[in-house]
Subunit: 427 residues, 2 copies
């Protein structure tokens, strides 16, 4: 009989979900895969949260798992990059297969850890680290193996997608929506990691290796969060048939890989626009398979546990047969496009005085910087400042930004710092 002995380290949200599902579905998993999953040891700081029937397996010393002769596969679900780093290194050094949901650690130290795994002839499963329940890593590695990736757009962070959805649907401002997200447990007390786009960037860096076969670190990514998005932008977007999403974007360009995490306006009828609340999505275009999208729950106890267990069984099958095809995670550095050189359509919002000549001045500055205007709109208003909305044709980001900097210097006519957002119409 085929079986696998696992040790789980970390009993937070995801760890307790893994324990719950394996315990409940042991028989089903065996019937469907032919592999019996035995939980041998469970480690956490203390066993207070642990059902008493598991107390005999409990240890507070993670080395009893990573160094155990009996255990084949270590499931690291502590998260973060301190203890978890020690745990992962020790597990691999002891030639254990490793399953994890730890995107921050793999984004930072992945190259070292994957190399260590390779040298020990073991493998690391990290399906749960990107897109929670969505089988995106497996799909890229196997389902799309013949394809070259051309572009990838991800809604990779549930917290920010929840906030943006609430802002639009319930007319909340950013801070209201954020504190609701905190109350409901979708956002941490210190939300910086999520709202400033860092979590999304960690995930994007992991996806990019696999999709573009190129080593990407978080430093290569232009990162912008959603904290500057106001109700007013949300409404403007809507009136233009658009919706604002925080997207992680990777695009092959002649200048190299364009890498960005930032709020982007997308057409309301694009499938990405329909992804609401805490859902995550990866949309991509490849050489042969055409545009595709994978959507699902990006976080939460059971959805993430579902991906962890899929990995446990997938790698158990590989371990039993030992074959390393399709499992390379080590990539070389490639060309990265400079953010300013990338091209996009832009939405620009200016607050100006209502005087003759203002429009001429603005359009002149844009024209001089090779930014071509696709549409311009000024709503009638009795009070100053008046709001001017400009949509551009595809233009170099650097040119758009210098234009706005130049426009904003005219303090006599510009009454508030101008705002710009990229607009993605997927054409």
């Amino acid at each position: 009989m085929n079986h696998i002995n696992i040790g789980i380290i970390g009993l937070g949200t995801v760890g307790s979900g893994v324990l719950e599902i394996i315990n409940k579905e042991k028989e089903k998993l065996f019937t469907e895969t032919g592999i019996q999953v035995n939980i041998v040891k469970i480690c956490d700081k203390d066993n207070s949260k642990l059902d008493s029937k598991f107390h005999s397996m409990f240890t507070s010393n993670w080395k009893e798992i990573t160094e155990s002769k009996e255990i084949d596969t270590v499931v690291e679900l502590i998260g973060g990059n301190t203890v978890a780093y020690e745990v992962q290194k020790s597990a691999l050094e002891n030639s254990k297969f490793l399953i994890t949901a730890n995107k921050a650690l793999l984004s930072e130290k992945g190259q070292e850890l994957f190399a260590l795994a390779k040298s020990k002839n073991v493998e690391i499963g990290f399906e749960a680290s990107v897109g929670g329940a969505i089988p995106v890593i497996r799909s890229i590695k196997t389902g799309l193996v013949s394809n070259e990736f051309l572009s990838l757009y991800g809604i990779l962070n549930g917290t920010t997608n929840f906030i943006l959805t609430k802002m639009e649907e319930e007319d909340m401002d950013y801070f209201e929506a954020l504190s609701l997200a905190q109350k409901l447990g979708f956002a941490e007390q210190d939300p910086t990691f999520d709202v400033e786009g860092i979590d999304a960037a960690h995930k994007l860096s992991l996806l990019c290796g696999l999709a573009f076969k190129q080593k990407v670190s978080i430093e290569d990514i232009s990162i912008e969060g959603i904290s500057k998005i106001s109700k007013s932008e949300i409404k403007q977007a809507k009136s233009l048939g658009l919706r604002i999403k925080l997207l992680g974007i990777a695009k092959k360009t002649e200048q190299g890989l364009e890498l960005r995490v930032s709020p982007i306006m997308i057409p309301l009828d694009h499938p990405l626009a329909s992804v609401k609340f805490e859902m995550n999505t990866i949309y991509f275009e490849t050489s042969y398979s055409g545009p595709s999208m994978l959507m699902g729950k990006g976080a939460g106890s059971l959805p993430t546990a579902s991906a962890v267990i899929a990995d446990i069984l997938y790698y158990a099958e590989r371990k039993i047969n030992k074959n390393s095809a399709l499992e390379n995670n080590l990539f070389e550095k490639g060309k990265i496009a400079s953010s300013k050189e990338t091209e996009a359509r832009f939405y620009i919002r200016l607050k100006t005085v209502d005087k003759p000549g203002v429009l001429g001045l603005i359009t002149n500055i844009l024209g001089k910087n090779y930014v071509s205007i696709s549409s311009i709109r000024q709503n009638e208003s009795l009070n100053e400042p008046v709001e001017l909305i400009i949509l551009t044709h595809k233009s170099k980001a650097g040119n758009v930004i210098s234009s706005i900097d130049e426009i904003d210097k005219h303090k006599d006519i510009i009454k508030e710092k101008s705002i710009y957002l990229r607009l993605e119409d997927f054409n």
Copy 2:
């Protein structure tokens, strides 16, 4: 070195795509998977469409492939259920791994063919048979292995989705959109198979086995096509914030599996509503992973070939190591819900005379049949008949249909056969 020798039978749209990609990407595939794919023989009726560099591999006798000692894996891309059936049987009898995109044959004869494969200790890969490029079969088999499926909704046929999209976006009627689809190659000259929902039902039956671990044949599915959908329904749907999609649906109910292919109205802001033209999608809910959606190109030469090649390599890796876990495709019959017993919300369109008492009569008949009305609308009109739009609360389909039959008998007030459609709000 790991390698696999394949023979391709059938050089139509998909077959020539497979040949093109393998020929172009041979080196990439080897680098990324460690497996070298050798095309040993190619079979079609004649070699007129075949690039001369492949002529030395050509045969018009498929037995030279299925019975070849040299070949490990037969790629059957003829389609249909006549010659393809003989080819598949012969390949399996000769202990070849089999890769195919043939949904009609697997839906009809899958149980026999999967059993034959099992008895010969070989496997059948059919990722390309459902959802083209979308890695849906692999995702169900591995990524979601711990989950119980609760429901599955698929846009499984690109032709009908193309027609419905054109009808809405360009205000075409059904026959205009159909003939455009034929002109563009999205529909066959005899479109019955697609427009009457049979192709979608074949695919649904294949998905249901894997998702619900239950044998489903096409006879178990209530099938309705899109040929009765008129411009008027498309417009009504839109004005209600809804969109009509041809969905393949499987839902666990207390009465058994509810199985249906039919046009359904869905909310405009549901992700399924954003799936346009020839795209395919599978949306599902499971016990742990929550709602998820996989979208991509459902047909076409290169997208389908991309899935065929993913299967060739996936099974090559399995073949080299021979392990049958996760590859069961044989299921027992389970409980199937009777279509009339299933519950849904309904959209009903009646054309009536404009007289006192008409509304009373209609609502009485519905009430008597336990059909509860959620909203009712009659637009002001100078001419008879007037159009009455009713949305119901969740009601038994059988009750709704008997109500409408009874209402339609009142020829004095009902001026045209009434129309009903299911309405899915995913709640």
